[in-house]
């Protein structure tokens, strides 16, 4: 078992099976580098993760600890793609599993918790969690107006009216989609 500590004062600590914790590439690498030290006895501080977010992370990794590891990029089977230096990453379609749909903080008032969770998944390099989270946000903003997206993601319009008008003109074709 490994102990993880949140960045709160005082820190809140969670005890998690090593197998689950290793879904985080950041922590897995750290544990491997510290091979030979008794990491069961040493809590790992996570300076970017607060307790509510860490609790979610722990829930998620415990749920998914027995998932088959993601397949290392299979070589493209299409016979026509002979470009070895193609920079496209052939990501398989991301599907959010039922359990995860219920797990993600998806109410609008929980929006900030969702963003904190994604930031933490990014910092801890938990790619499957990051993928489903990003997919969720992508679905959420799809088909919405520009104003809605700005408001949802707490972003500000920093275009000048001229720039905005010009850009709108460039993408006017999208209106018909």
């Amino acid at each position: 078992m490994i102990q993880l500590c949140s960045n709160d004062d005082p820190p809140v600590s969670f005890t998690v099976p090593r197998k689950a914790v290793e879904l985080s590439k950041t922590i897995k690498t750290m544990l491997e580098d510290l091979e030979g030290f008794d990491m069961e006895q040493t809590p790992i501080p996570l300076p970017n993760v607060d307790a509510p977010t860490l609790e979610l992370i722990v829930k998620w990794v415990e749920q998914h600890q027995d998932d088959p590891p993601p397949v290392e990029k299979p070589r493209v089977e299409d016979d026509d793609s002979d470009d070895s230096d193609a920079d496209d990453d052939q990501e398989p379609e991301v599907v959010i599993p039922e359990w995860d749909k219920k797990f993600l903080p998806t109410d609008d008032e929980q929006k900030n918790q969702l963003f904190k969770l994604l930031n933490a998944a990014n910092y801890l390099e938990i790619k499957p969690l990051l993928d489903i989270g990003c997919k969720y946000v992508a679905d959420k903003i799809s088909g919405q107006t520009v104003e809605w997206v700005r408001d949802y993601l707490n972003m500000e319009n920093d275009y000048t009216p001229e720039e905005e008008a010009k850009l709108k003109e460039e993408i006017a074709w999208a209106e018909g989609l």
Binding site: T26, T29, M30, D33, L34, F37, T42, P43, I44, P45, P47, N48, S81, D83, D85, A86, D87, D88, Q90, E93, V94, N112, F115, K116, L118, N119, N122, Y123, L130, D131, C134, K135, V137, A138, D139, I141, S142, G143, Q144, T145, V146, V149, R150, L153, N154, M155, E156, N157, D158, Y159, E164, L167, K168, E170, I171, W173, A174, L177
Partner: protein
Amino acid sequence: MAMPVEDSLDADALMMDLSFSPPKSKNHVLMGGPGCSREIPSSTADLLADLSLVEKEKTFTERYLSEREKLLRTFTNWSEYDQVDFMKQLLQQMCHYQHGQINSFLKPMLQRDFISLLPARGLSHLAESILSYVDAKSLCSCELVCREWRSVVAEGMLWKKLIERKVRTDSLWKGLSDKRGWQQYLFKSKDRLIQPILSTFAPGELPTDVGATEAQHRFYRKLYPDIERDIDTIESNWKCGRHVLQRINCHSENSK
């Protein structure tokens, strides 16, 4: 390396001064080279403890502690540029497994700094991952959200990726990409495509301040609706009977 000569001399003199034994071996510097682990058995473990994220009881030698103070004071008085050079010199004196330890210590530090710079509740650094899942219409809206997102879409070549995704998943797109020739602009690296793409623009069509990435961005953003229009035309031609049936002689089994 472009740097003032005095600084390099200073650094050398300092490192000599701090060696654990007469400076005959280059490894005997402040942070302990491979030789140190033999002569001062505890130093490797101490080093590791120091490098881990965890506070541990330290058992450094008195001598090291007093010399470290002195060195750190000298170090903080240098310019940032000089400090970086000094660290380079230090790192070059160390062996591979030490580099590994430093790496594991440095990595979370870099991530930490990166994250702390972000707006606490924002997701802007995840923008590329998020925007790689949206459809064309939403991608257009996202370009309008703010400058940063527009540059994420451009730098991330997200229009190209969207078209590639369509070609991979939609047989009509796949067939057209072969037939209409725009497949040559897909599934290849940015660097290999820049010349062919630039040559599709008429002279003077691109403003002079437009860089290579922006040019490619504009190319793919324009290609997308062209393909959509092409598909619409084909579908309506088919539905309205404006097509010509042709007999094709087939020899292969699987194309029957």
